[in-house]
């Protein structure tokens, strides 16, 4: 097949008037027929329509074509269509070549008939030249291991794990913290329904724990991922809890006796925890964890533990897992206003963040649900909320946190107002984004309750001697500058990528977008897929989103991944890197250049060679560029195939 004399058919699409109205399609087709190896041309009204495809297939049969060039719209939308059409008629889909004369020609030169026609001829000539050199390629496949890894046990990761587990796949659910549950476990209530957060999350956590197919690996981290779709080799670090989790009953006797008091992370550092502690009352697994960094070694806990679970000499364990697919749900962090002292945070006692407010509001929180202000523990009467702290701000993050913080502030003002009607609330906002179902109603409810909304970005925060803070803001609806004195100011901090996301991105070879979150394969059409086959992303790892959205994503990853798991094999693209060992001098430049670890030097001395793990290759071709000898080639984008295009941009004038 490869050595067969090329017989090329060129099909020029009029696309109704989209192409035919702006350039001379017949002239382009006639020109194509003068090119070497072109044995058939045809102008189609709509090449992509059934009739157009039939004309291609007829051309293939009648003229014994082994290569097809279609000059029409863009490969980004129609390449699969024409490839399938060629394949049906017996032409290898990789010997199909797309020439873009609509999106990149007729539509952008609408008033230059001659220029557009000349350009279309050039593009067709370039396409034909490339087509001449195209080689048939086969897509291969690899088997898919039936185990699943879910990284992160927040609500998105938990949902994914449940769905995978329910479908019968064995799931490793790896969670960095000592308990599953994630951010949602710390919320008081959730908008727009104002359900009690832990009341609805708790049962889900139990469901995870009960699911026989889910293997919870809490207080553990993924440190390395090798391999490729269907065959990932994962290294998990089990951090020592310094107790035997099989023996520990979660009774909490240890934390009673522990003399070391530390700020409680779960409570946003309001309140205390001990050096040995149970993360929170609903924790799953309900086991204690010893914070060795802060342990003074008094061994009080060991004495108190009736079960005898304490193990001071426990060591970290690295476990190797093999999995077929991976869901990444590593979540987010709230924006930290401390470094820049945004709105006086860190300078003035009575400026706190939403997450802190959330814990104060929570009945199980450090104040038993009484919102008090930090300076004097007095319950505030006038409370202000500033939205878009750390988001929609050119100095911090330009993106909007997806309406999550708008709803946060609305919900929190509403909750406090309901609890203590004597309170007054101000929400300083730029725009209220209440886009999802029930959000607008929640907004209206807050207004009805008397929460005051001031459209304006506060310009200055000052502290008074009594600890009150004064917000100076231009009410842009009224067009006047006002000073609002508050007992407590709450910053509606935006969502930012989890601090570990860079590391996780590097481990999984996932690109990060400009906002720092992981990039999905396509924001619209592949929102939970990633550029690494077999790795899916759920929840806030791929951008700010609310609980419903994150949960749906968790399920979605399970759905997408099951395509591979249920079939048991994953396709490998045809456009991967290949090596010509005769030409290769084993210089190893490709090894460093590949972001996916496709290449390795194997063998010794004269037998050294480069091993190419094709299944890892994503087909970017960066290695091919770096290879000085030309031994490396990217199938379908070979050096001579691209150069054929370059060399056919120009022609001798006499033609």
């Amino acid at each position: 097949m490869e050595n067969e004399e090329p017989r090329i058919g060129v099909f020029v699409c009029e696309c109704g008037v989209n192409i035919g109205g702006y350039l001379d399609t017949q002239a382009v087709a006639d020109y194509a027929l003068t090119l070497p190896n072109v044995v058939h041309t045809k102008v189609n009204k709509f090449t992509c329509a059934d009739s157009g495809q039939a004309e291609i297939q007829e051309g293939i049969r009648e003229h014994n074509l082994n290569r097809v060039v279609v000059a029409s719209c863009t490969p980004r939308t129609h390449e699969p269509t024409f490839r399938a059409c060629c394949k049906e008629a017996g032409v290898n889909p990789y010997q199909f070549e797309f020439v873009n004369i609509r999106d990149q020609c007729s539509w952008i030169h609408m008033w230059d008939w001659e220029g557009a026609t000349a350009k279309a001829k050039d593009l067709v000539r370039m396409g034909v030249a490339r087509s001449r050199l195209l080689e048939p390629l086969e897509e291969s496949s690899v088997p898919v291991d039936q185990n699943v890894l879910v990284i992160g046990a927040g609500v998105a990761g938990m949902q994914a794990a449940i769905d995978f587990g329910d479908m019968g796949y064995n799931v490793y659910l790896v969670e960095k913290g000592p308990s599953i549950g994630g951010r949602m476990a710390r919320f008081d209530k959730v908008f727009p329904t104002n359900d009690c957060s832990i009341c609805i999350l708790g049962p889900k956590m139990v469901e995870v724990a009960r699911n026989k197919n889910i293997n919870i690996m809490s207080y553990s981290e993924v440190t390395d991922v090798d391999g490729f779709v269907g065959n990932f080799e994962v290294t998990v670090l089990h951090k020592p809890r310094y107790l035997d989790t099989d023996v520990c009953t979660g009774c909490g006797a240890c934390q009673e006796v522990c003399p070391v008091e530390l700020p409680s992370e779960f409570n946003e550092n309001f309140g205390i925890r001990k050096a040995i502690y149970i993360p929170f009352p609903q924790a799953v697994p309900m086991r204690a964890v010893l914070d060795k960094d802060n342990c003074i070694g008094c061994k009080a806990c060991e004495k108190a533990c009736e079960a005898g679970a304490i193990r001071y000499d426990q060591e970290a364990i690295y476990e190797k897992l093999t999995v077929g697919v991976i869901t990444v749900a590593v979540g987010m962090d709230a924006f930290d206003p401390l470094p820049h002292n945004n709105y006086g945070y860190g300078l003035y006692d009575n400026v706190i963040t939403t997450m802190e407010f959330e814990r104060l509001l929570n009945a199980a929180g450090p104040t038993g649900g009484h919102v008090v202000r930090p300076s004097d523990a007095v319950e505030p009467i006038t409370v202000g909320f500033i939205n878009c702290v750390g988001s929609r701000d050119v100095n911090e993050n330009i993106y909007c946190s997806g309406g999550v913080c708008c709803m946060f502030s609305i919900k929190n003002a509403q909750l406090l107002k309901e609890k203590r009607p004597e309170t007054n609330h101000f929400i300083f906002y730029m725009d209220i984004r209440s886009t999802m179902r029930g959000f607008e109603e929640a907004y209206n409810r807050a207004r009805d309750l008397g929460v005051k909304f001031i459209r304006g970005k506060p310009v200055e925060i000052t502290e008074k001697e009594n600890g009150n803070v004064v917000v100076r803001v231009e009410d842009t609806l009224k067009g006047e500058i006002t000073n609002v004195e508050l007992d407590l100011l709450v910053l509606g901090t935006g969502l930012v990528p989890n601090e570990g996301i860079n590391e996780m991105g590097a481990i999984l070879k996932l690109p990060r977008s400009a906002d720092g979150f992981l990039t999905e394969l396509h924001p619209k059409l592949a929102p939970v897929d990633t550029t690494t086959d077999g790795v899916f992303v759920a929840g806030c790892a791929a951008g700010p989103r609310d609980i419903a959205y994150a949960t749906a994503h968790g399920s979605a990853t399970a759905g997408r991944a099951t395509r591979l798991l249920s079939v048991g094999s994953a396709p490998i693209m045809g456009i991967t890197a290949r090596i010509d060992e005769d030409k290769c001098v084993v210089c190893g430049v490709c090894v460093d250049k590949c972001p996916y670890g496709v290449f390795e030097i194997v063998g010794t001395n004269g037998d050294r060679r480069i091993n190419v793990v094709e299944a890892l290759c994503k087909g970017c071709g960066t290695c091919v560029t770096a290879c000085p000898t030309g031994a490396l080639e990217q199938s379908h984008f070979k050096n001579d195939q691209v150069l054929a295009q370059v060399r056919n941009v120009f022609q001798y004038g006499g033609e």
Binding site: L35, P36, Q651, Y652
Partner: protein, 485 residues
Amino acid sequence: MNENIFTTVCPGCSIACGMYVREKDDGTYDIDWRKDAVVNAGKLCRFGVRLSANLKAAVSKVDGNEVELSDAVTAAGNAIVDGAAFVSVGNTTCEEHLALMKLAESKGAVVNTGMGAFSSIPAECHSTMGVGVPLDAIESAKKIVLFIDPYEQYPLLVRRILASKKNGATVTAVGWKAVSLADDNKTIDPANYESELDLDNDSVIIAEINPSTDPERVMVLLNLAKASGAAIMFMKPFVNAVGCDLASKKTEQKSLDQIIAEINDGSIKTLVCLDSDLIEIMPDETAVREALGKLDNLIVITSRASAITDVAKIVVATEPLYKKAGTVVNAEGRALVGSGEGTDGIDVVGAMMGQPVGMYDEVHAALLATLGIEEVDERVVPEYEKPDYAAMDANPTAEAVETALVYAGGPFFWNGMVDDNDFVEMNLDMVTASSLLKGIPARIVSDKGEVAIKYKVSDVAPGVVLSNVKLPMTTGMVTSVTVSR
């Protein structure tokens, strides 16, 4: 782990650039640049640089079967009969050539060097035709006229001519293709050479003699040199063409065309070739193959595998040139010896006539006597007698072509090499008139067949398709063709 180092010369053409060969334990070799070499300071052209890839060692064969060298020698000795013809164009040492002359003599024949021009031109001119001017003299010439394309045919002359230009020389090129280093490129009717070129004692004419050269053209150039007082240098395609010529009894020789004609008419039944591949050298490859097929015995003594070793009845394989003891005389007349000590080439010829091993010293001494020198010193160009010759009658026709493929030989052409860079040249008008597409080979058709080959747009005369590689559809050095997409 050891390496053997041989100082030697490049066998690509008659310049004989110095090089050294690095031979490894496993017999493979690499060339390297011998920078102290008197000829060209170790500079090499594409042929020399790629020598180890270009030249493949020959294997002894009888009737197509591989045999021991001694068996091939015996078979050859038995097959060489009286009336056999001998060819040695100069691709080996003078000593081997002399040994072959002895063998030929014993069979009542002479060794033909294949240079038809020599046979047709009076003997007193031969010295002038054979030995040119020292390469240094090119650098100090005031005017240089090129009848060759130095870039393609004799690339190592380029630096000499460039040096001459630096020294103030003007360069005129006469030929099919504009030579970029020339100050002036001309197409001149041979009748007007003298008037248009305006040469004098400080001028040097550089031209070529090869087995297909028309003697009339050589005579015109000799007359031009004589009339103007200019020095003349005829380059030759073979490394030792000059040496073989000096050693040979020139006048009795036949041209290659004559030899082919005599094979065809049945008067030559046995042909002995010493490092000379007629299939490679002669432009009409099919005609040569046909003729060679008519021989009773084709005996090839050679150091390298080539087209002719595939069709020969007997192949006697000798060591490569770099390993041979012996002398080579280059275009300047400079005698050169390498550090090789092999005498297989001479010993096998000796064996064919029943001579004992060890003939080398004897033939070497004979060579020194022929050259008129006591010992070979590469730094000294021997003085050659240059008798005054009479102007000759020559009636060259102005070369005009309709559309023709014209061969301009170069090292790759004469050594029958092909590589990825093979292409023909023609001018832009011809390319556009023939509707050629860029990057798509041109189709060249003659009476004998057709080829598709890459082409290059160059400043070539109208109607000429110039080639430095041999194409399998030619009838001679000039072949009428049509060109199309």
